[in-house]
């Protein structure tokens, strides 16, 4: 039999429907692959018993003629999604062995469509990071080899301290690495400043952050509530469309989820893009941009042009202020959201002489350094005397950033094309000594989209000279994810997929 883990979600769906294999066989193949790839550290918890039980139920449902849209499809779940009865930690020590007594809306909808859970995926602690190195469970290894490395050298590094191997990006690094390494057919992820799109770009996978409000945030560990959105990471554009169709939808339990019908996003694939107007924002041509990123961007525009789209130059004048404004808004919201981790109702508790000392010791022991730093900054910018200078000003600038996009869309632009990241994947520990701002610059092309609440899709557009995947980003109008899928399909048809070598086992 062919390697079932090498299939795309769509191919697996067809194989299951034809009876070529069962959901249980498909699940077993993935569980075996996960075991062989444990050293990549993509999963922080395998749930083989739950997976097998779900797969058996799926096979039974199919026999009864009750197959859902994702019937029998094995998925990985970012450890930010609450999964009933299965440990959920946000990859933080402070949540300890938290076992949610409830299921997040997004994952519940996936299971309702017949999907199977393989396990929980690694991420940066509380989704704060761009390399998956802030996780309490340690870094995730990108399945793509560093430039000029062979499999033997990579295996030796994997057995030692993983140094020199590449990061998968973050915060959804486990999701992206697992999809790229064929350890699931798709994964849930979340994106606050680029946490779906940047890891997708680093691993040659497809990720979409939908419009703010498209997916319910209920049951997802909160980081910055006005920016957080869930979305899928998948092997292909079609797979991502299939997953988003199941994940999206109105939820009365999240007052910011939007009551709009969810289209069948897969139906947008293959739709003509002739006449679509694609904006190329001049402010994204940043100083020091590597030549291969410039070339990729140009190539992306040419591919869309070849399919009949019209390419126009546009201006988004407040682009350069998006990242600094983000580093006020996101920490401010995080400092408020993370106040709930106090050692009383769940998670870690470190005893103190009184309740305040208990809080302080618990939070000191439970949070990692990146999380602490962001809480401290958030506390500072919200504190008396500084609120107007920082937080209020940042929220005004956010209005201006959104207005930039509205102006461009009002002029008839259907979508915007940019690079997804300023570089290909970098090495584990490579940026450990750098100042935090250098790590933050990874999100320079993605963060504007969160600030404006818009949908953004990242997909592989090609590779750099050493064969590492490079990602393109398509930014859409609010709630027009369909156009993004149509355009992404056109790019994928021409650029093809970028597949990771299998060297770890």
């Amino acid at each position: 039999m062919t390697d079932l883990t090498a299939l795309t979600l769509d191919e697996a769906r067809q194989g299951l429907a034809k009876g070529d294999f069962t959901a249980l066989e498909l699940t077993e193949a993935h569980l075996a692959a996960m075991e062989a790839a444990a050293a990549l550290n993509a999963y922080v918890l395998d749930t083989p018993d739950r997976a097998r039980a779900m797969a058996r139920e799926s096979d039974a449902r199919r026999k009864r003629g009750e197959a859902g849209r994702l019937e029998g499809i094995p998925l990985g779940v970012k450890d930010l999604f609450a999964t009933e009865g299965t440990r959920t930690t946000a990859c933080s020590r402070i949540l300890g062995d938290f076992v949610p007594p409830y299921e997040s809306t997004v994952t519940r909808q996936l299971w309702q469509q017949g999907a199977v859970m393989l396990g929980k995926l690694n991420n940066d602690e509380f989704a704060m990071g761009s390399s998956n190195e802030t996780s309490a469970f340690g870094p995730v290894v990108n399945p793509f080899l560093p430039p000029n490395w062979d499999a033997a050298k990579a295996r030796a590094a994997l057995a030692a301290d993983r140094k020199g191997l590449l990061v998968p990006g973050g915060s959804s690094g486990g999701s992206a690495a697992a999809v790229a390494a064929n350890l699931c057919l798709g994964a849930t992820a979340t994106d606050t400043g680029g946490s779906i799109r940047q890891p997708a770009a680093f691993t040659g996978t497809v990720g979409i952050k939908p419009t703010y409000g498209r997916c319910s945030r209920w049951g997802i560990v909160a980081f910055a509530s006005s920016l957080d959105q869930a979305g899928p990471i998948a092997k292909t554009v079609r797979d991502a469309a299939a997953l988003l169709t199941a994940m999206a939808g109105h939820d009365p339990k999240d007052s910011t989820s939007v009551d709009l019908p969810v289209p069948d996003f897969e139906a947008a694939l293959g739709r003509s893009v002739a006449g679509k107007v694609i904006g190329i924002p001049r402010e994204y041509r940043v100083e020091g941009m590597p030549a291969e990123i410039e070339a990729l961007w140009r190539k992306g525009a040419e591919m869309l042009k070849a399919a009949g789209a019209r390419i126009v130059d546009v201006s988004l004048p407040h682009t350069k202020y998006a990242l600094p404004a983000y580093y006020i808004v996101a920490p401010a919201e995080a400092s408020s959201n993370l106040a709930r981790y106090d050692g009383v109702r769940y998670g870690l508790r470190v005893k103190g002489r009184d309740i305040v000392e208990m809080y302080e010791k618990t939070r000191a022991a439970g949070f990692g350094r990146e999380v602490k730093r962001r809480i401290l900054i958030g506390t500072y910018v919200l504190s008396a005397g500084y609120y107007d200078a920082y937080y209020l000003r940042a929220q005004k600038i956010r209005t201006l950033i959104k207005r930039d996009f509205e102006t461009v869309y009002a002029e008839g632009v259907d979508a915007i094309l940019t690079p997804a990241t300023p570089s290909a994947a970098f090495g584990i520990a490579e940026k450990a000594e750098a100042d935090p701002v250098e790590m933050y610059l990874n999100d320079i092309f993605t963060v504007t989209v969160n600030m404006a609440g818009l949908p953004g899709l990242a997909l592989p557009g090609g590779t750099d000279p050493s064969g590492l995947p490079l990602g393109l980003q398509l930014i859409g109008r609010p709630f027009d994810e369909e156009t993004l899928f149509s355009l992404a399909g056109v790019i994928e048809d021409q650029a093809g997929r970028v597949r990771a070598p299998r060297w770890w086992a």
């Binding site: 939007v258 600094p324 109702r345 769940y346 998670g347 002489r353 730093r373 920082y390 005004k396």
Partner: protein, 95 residues
């Protein structure tokens, strides 16, 4: 703007995170790097600009003022580090 060690100590206290004296200086440097980075926001003219309150325009929905959930103390306290019956236990806060 930049912060000194005393300010880091004060915000750590406000954030209820114990930061040992030896680590204050490290945080001070990192926080100042970020505050230096965000300083460029000062050059933007924000006169007359409304601060964003909702990224997508949406009206908050009302729901019936009715009990829709509850009566499950065992589930609510299941993850508590310390509990007794259906109560969370904390150090004494009232003398």
């Amino acid at each position: 703007m930049s912060v000194d060690v005393a300010t880091v100590r004060r915000i750590a206290r406000l954030a209820r995170i114990e930061v040992p004296e030896a680590e204050l200086e490290g945080f001070r440097g990192e926080i100042n790097a970020i505050l230096g980075f965000v300083e460029q926001l000062g050059e933007v003219d924000v006169d007359g600009v409304e601060p964003m309150t909702s990224v997508m325009p949406m009206a908050l929905r009302m729901r019936a003022d009715a009990v829709t959930d509850g009566e499950q103390p065992a589930k609510v306290t299941a993850n508590a580090p310390e509990r007794e019956d259906s109560f969370f236990l904390v150090p004494k806060v009232v003398e």
